[in-house]
Symmetry: D2
Subunit: 354 residues, 4 copies
Amino acid sequence: MGEDKRIPVGIIGASGYGGIQLVRLLLEHPLVEITYMGGSGSVGQNFSDLYPHLAHCVNLPIESCEPEEVAARAKVVFLSLPNGLAAKIAPKLLAKGCKVLDLSADYRFKDLQVYDAWYKEGEPRTDREVNQSAVYGLPELYRDRIATANLVGCAGCYPTASLLALLPLLKQGLIDHSTIIIDAKSGTSGGGRQPKTNLLLAEASNSLGAYGIASHRHTPEIEQVCSDIAGQEVMVQFTPHLIPMVRGILSTVYAKMRDPGLTKDDLLTIYKSFYRNSQWVKVLPKNVYPQTKWACGTNLCYLGVEVDQRTGRVIVVSAIDNLMKGQASQALQCLNIMMGWEETLGLPQLTFYP
Amino acid sequence: MGEDKRIPVGIIGASGYGGIQLVRLLLEHPLVEITYMGGSGSVGQNFSDLYPHLAHCVNLPIESCEPEEVAARAKVVFLSLPNGLAAKIAPKLLAKGCKVLDLSADYRFKDLQVYDAWYKEGEPRTDREVNQSAVYGLPELYRDRIATANLVGCAGCYPTASLLALLPLLKQGLIDHSTIIIDAKSGTSGGGRQPKTNLLLAEASNSLGAYGIASHRHTPEIEQVCSDIAGQEVMVQFTPHLIPMVRGILSTVYAKMRDPGLTKDDLLTIYKSFYRNSQWVKVLPKNVYPQTKWACGTNLCYLGVEVDQRTGRVIVVSAIDNLMKGQASQALQCLNIMMGWEETLGLPQLTFYP
Amino acid sequence: MGEDKRIPVGIIGASGYGGIQLVRLLLEHPLVEITYMGGSGSVGQNFSDLYPHLAHCVNLPIESCEPEEVAARAKVVFLSLPNGLAAKIAPKLLAKGCKVLDLSADYRFKDLQVYDAWYKEGEPRTDREVNQSAVYGLPELYRDRIATANLVGCAGCYPTASLLALLPLLKQGLIDHSTIIIDAKSGTSGGGRQPKTNLLLAEASNSLGAYGIASHRHTPEIEQVCSDIAGQEVMVQFTPHLIPMVRGILSTVYAKMRDPGLTKDDLLTIYKSFYRNSQWVKVLPKNVYPQTKWACGTNLCYLGVEVDQRTGRVIVVSAIDNLMKGQASQALQCLNIMMGWEETLGLPQLTFYP
Amino acid sequence: MGEDKRIPVGIIGASGYGGIQLVRLLLEHPLVEITYMGGSGSVGQNFSDLYPHLAHCVNLPIESCEPEEVAARAKVVFLSLPNGLAAKIAPKLLAKGCKVLDLSADYRFKDLQVYDAWYKEGEPRTDREVNQSAVYGLPELYRDRIATANLVGCAGCYPTASLLALLPLLKQGLIDHSTIIIDAKSGTSGGGRQPKTNLLLAEASNSLGAYGIASHRHTPEIEQVCSDIAGQEVMVQFTPHLIPMVRGILSTVYAKMRDPGLTKDDLLTIYKSFYRNSQWVKVLPKNVYPQTKWACGTNLCYLGVEVDQRTGRVIVVSAIDNLMKGQASQALQCLNIMMGWEETLGLPQLTFYP
């Protein structure tokens, strides 16, 4: 296929960690071409001024973001911006015929009242209609809807890890909803590239802490999807922790089984069956639990399933790369589906170990 | 006080991480003197061959362990050995009049059947009587019994962090016992100094995983103490994780409150009251959660208390240094109590930050 | 190209870090197929027992190493073994018509007396003729010889980083040979997967030290190549350091310039010219120095060039991934050349950052 | 001694990493009492708002810095401020009779022209007379002058590590001055607590790079002291590197020996003799090289001495804690000397390992 057949793609917010993952992935994707990079603080610089190690592969300026200009040069636009900004840009891009994949929280909520309750900082949202058209970007669950969407609100990093661990249990009605606890752990790249004291190596290294207990914004996002699958309102206990590593999320999910007679073998069978068509989710053999490092740099989610017969609980551990399956490569997976391409196109599945 | 008044102390298993913490602490303790160091693989070497940075402070050989010889030279003996070995040495030392503090699991269980079920690798234990005399070395709970003990089975690292988080809830009957979940995270020094592949920097660094799900040996230890306090059998869900850092344990403890009307302020009051005489436990102000780094190199345990009114759960986060409050400095705290000394003597309370 | 056209490749020593890099790379190389994996301690296990995260890509047993059997199933064999073992296997494989790429030090030295002086542990080498046929596997220097070789002794990790920094200076006669100092820093994966105390996360993390000062075995390897290029015997000062990170080598190379009037611009021109046909070496723009992370997971070497006009010295900093350009991907680069394939085939050039 | 006899001490710049080390150390020093804490951005907060883990030990507000007010409440003032600020405050404090220890570069240079050439950002310095009275705060070299000083410009972190490695060689005239190379490596805490992108864990972790090649500001500071000792102008090659760890500096120092016949034993004898009265410098046994971790949290400097008979060079490796011997504890050592106290008072000499 000639290069002229590649789809022109724009990235708004290219200078952050989500942006550079997208750049990295799109450069190796055979059917797209990056034609526009937008930013704010770094406008006027070349992308390789920010990331000199990519100078041999990328030679594009960071431009200010004029939606009309973007739409003229790109058929697909990834938005990798702080929460609240995509809602201002996406409607304009969609109106010009672009497909839009948003990596922020702006288009993840069916109910904007929930969004406003957990995210609103300024004025209320005025894009309710556009929001209604958005599809939640978790392909393992909403593959069909994504295929016909023009706007995808890509799933958050913690929700991706947590939901992939929970979905088979909820779908099959195997657990008592009131007992779901998600103890999640993330590397510090989840906090972005804007410098903050608590993310300094000197502070975050060699230490560990919880944050956002009982109040983290990913809670309602997880609950929305759980409720959708369970067919009734589900509330979860979600606690994130900051881990002294760059990439990776591990979610340890606990729930009481409705039928305490279920065995580990039963559950492994159920999980493998649920994900039999989802090649990016790997259910590990019995007694093997995932390391986040295994998923590093890939679009994979590894699941380890355990049953505690003493307590009647199922414990599922999921591992992803927060910047990949938790962000950029999952967005690209969504794009593959939206474009009718092979779902695995351009998505890495082999990490470098160790 | 003249140096001649110092109590002679022996350490068996001085070359491991527990041992070197003890050496470090005892060197600065004003009322003791290290007179004997025992080991196995490193017998014949000087301690400073193993740890050259301490050559200016310690000049003692690692000797083979002859209980009679040890008892002749030490009035107090710390055992820092793999599980199963203390049970063979402690009875002899006690018979010679030594006070013994064991850092392994050998003397933590009232019921040796539980010990055998979770720990036995070779022949059954033959020291039942001695075991009955042992006191569980968690001073915040058993201070009085420790004061009169000759044999202390020092609390494990995960149990220390987890129990200090749970005790006030159990003591006051505030939680539904069937809902207790302990999601614990430890630095890799907990795995000891014997080289293992999974503890290599190349493997453990920049990654995160769970292990021992539904099967870790610290589970029955935690349950024994919880049951003792609650006055009924308590079962807990305990999941440890390996964190890419050297020292520190963070335990995130979840439970449903019996009275969902309890507020964060109520619980903070209860915690502060419970620990009002325990200067090594610091209950943090509202909305502050601990970092493991804060406890690093100290005998402190920091507690953060949170309530989720949506779910009716209390979430308590505890942070300790696994090698200190989780091992060596807690043993020294026990010794202070056994000897009738000031409980804080020689125990560090100020970390170096960051 | 049909899969039946792929060249069958064997890896002996597949279970170590060199081995798993090769597996990872060969899986994505379009013209090869792994048909044999040999090991010692892990014989009988499946490769995915050792590395469960690769189970979806590799399903091969680790077999014991019978050269005849290997040669029957592979046309190309990579040897990733401790020093001294390749010399026993390679001659047999070559006699059977295999091409052999050795990742150990066995075939790096023209003069086996030098090898014996620095490496010999047992009996003397008996493969002098085979050794004479070996080519040193540093493609940027010996591309032509590699093209016709059947046996390549792949360059060591420190030598690769150090030589790529030094070559243009030596080739052009720009420096006083007696002033060369190489201060090198490596991640701990260079120490291999066999567990050793000093490589534990608990020991190596959050610390830094030098080792092998004035005695490291890579010294004569660097000197052999330097002398070859300079046309006279060159002696270097080489000091390696262990860095608390998994992958990466940074070499900081110092030398006095013969002509103190040379400027940074002059040198950058010289470096860019020297490497104009070597797409794996990236000379960075003025005032930019490499981070090892930039090279992580790639076959790239980044070079930063600086001149100190006050002291008359040139300082060159090189960064590579020790397991890639310093080991496995460089071996694959050599194979591409040996087979007459595109030199870049199957070699990654984009890291995941951060 | 009653608490009323303690000397009142103030810290200006208490909120940064230098400040918190001082707070930590002064809290355990038996003859001082912190009576004033000054800051800028954090004025109005309590110190324990910034560092909650110290709430049980410190209960002082961060106040704005009025020199008159400070002088009224403190007899000794530590300045831990960005370069350029101490020069504005110190003269006023001295005029009021305070003793001043400055941790910045402001009072390290005899020749303010050198200071201006390397540091000046705004207007020229107007405190030349005061500057003349300052003593360079490296006690191992200038103990006598410090004893009578009212103003100490505490030695920088890299200079401390580098000079302690070099001093015996320079003092004895053992090396060719034109061959001195200092390849230094520092943890990221040296970059301070102000958040910067390159110091984020996500950026600095798992990577390594050089910076300030041929241009770092510590170069003239090292050269000033070397020249003073050598009795002639000495120029050094100094290259710092950023290491993925929190604390610690390792300096690897190279120089050609004037007499190539000198052996390692000779040099060890010379080093031990030179530092026989300096209990904070530990010359390691033959063939032992320091780990930075050994010095962590202490005022110690460890030295490893090596000779390369092949090249005629001496290689000395020094390890310190950059925030302690490289900053805060060294300042306290200076204070002990200034006050006529035991030089070791309140200075930690035992790290926690690992």
